[in-house]
Structure formats: structure tokens, C-alpha cells
Symmetry: C2
Subunit: 81 residues, 2 copies
């Protein structure tokens, strides 16, 4: 089963990459009110059990993929609405 994780900087946490994108776009003449940069992690899992997959990916996020102090994550499984 394929799982997609979106990792975002938490609100109030500095987002230097987002600021760089916003200012870079401004220099190119694009007007953007805000820009935020996070990570996209796509995983291919062996399990076909959705509950099990979701729980495993949440553990992976807490332990390695995201830094829970400063980042939030959102998990989507293949076939989620």
C-alpha cells in the first residue's frame, strides 16, 4: 500500500525556506501573499491492512520522518477520500 506524508513547519515556527521562496518569487515579479515549504514523503508499505498501515506510518513520522517539536504531519493512504 502506498502512503503519502506531508510534513509542514508548525504555525509560529520559523520557515526560512518559505521566506526564501516568497522573496525569490517576488524578485521574479510574482506576487505571493505567503509561501510555506515542507516535505513530501511517499512510502510503499508491505501491509494491506489500512489501520495497521496508518498506525505504522504515524510511528515512522514520530521517530524519523518528522520532528514533532517543530513539524506537523498529515498521513494519506492510497484510496483515502
Amino acid at each position: 500500500m502506498k502512503a503519502t506524508v506531508l510534513v509542514r513547519p508548525k504555525a509560529g515556527i520559523l520557515d526560512p525556506q518559505g521566506e526564501a521562496v516568497q522573496s525569490g518569487l517576488g524578485h521574479l515579479g510574482f506576487v505571493v501573499r505567503k509561501a510555506h515549504v515542507g516535505r513530501l514523503v511517499e512510502l510503499e508499505l508491505d501491509t494491506t491492512d489500512r489501520e495497521q498501515a496508518r498506525a505504522a506510518v504515524a510511528k515512522m513520522c514520530d521517530q524519523l520522518i518528522a520532528n514533532p517539536l517543530i513539524e506537523s504531519y498529515e498521513i494519506t493512504l492510497e484510496g483515502d477520500a
Copy 2:
């Protein structure tokens, strides 16, 4: 209008971050068949015209957000199905 851009390494292009995530997860005892790491860019645009927004974001991707040689991008606008 809010736009979300997912930037992925193109197929066949080295993805060292993905390999690091896969091997790191393996060391933690998680079995993952494959892992790919890309970027998530969220933009807040001034325009409310969807066609215009989509075209502008595609230009931003080509010029700054993605490296078209080695990365592909996927644009989603707020309200897209």
C-alpha cells in the same frame, strides 16, 4: 486562493533523501519497500481566477520552485477535486 505544489524527483533520478529515509526506517525495524522524498510548497495567491492561478503557479514552478531537469511538479488549487 491557496495553491499546493508537490515536487518529486523524476523517475530514474537519484533520490538520496529517499534512500536515507528507507534505510533509517529499516534500522528502526520498519519494513518499507520504497521511500521517496520531495517537497511540499504551499502558496497563497491574490488572484481568484483559477485558470490564471494555475498558469501563474506553473510559471513559478518552472522558474524557481522546481528544477524541471530532475523534478516533476503537481499543482493543486484549493477546491480542486
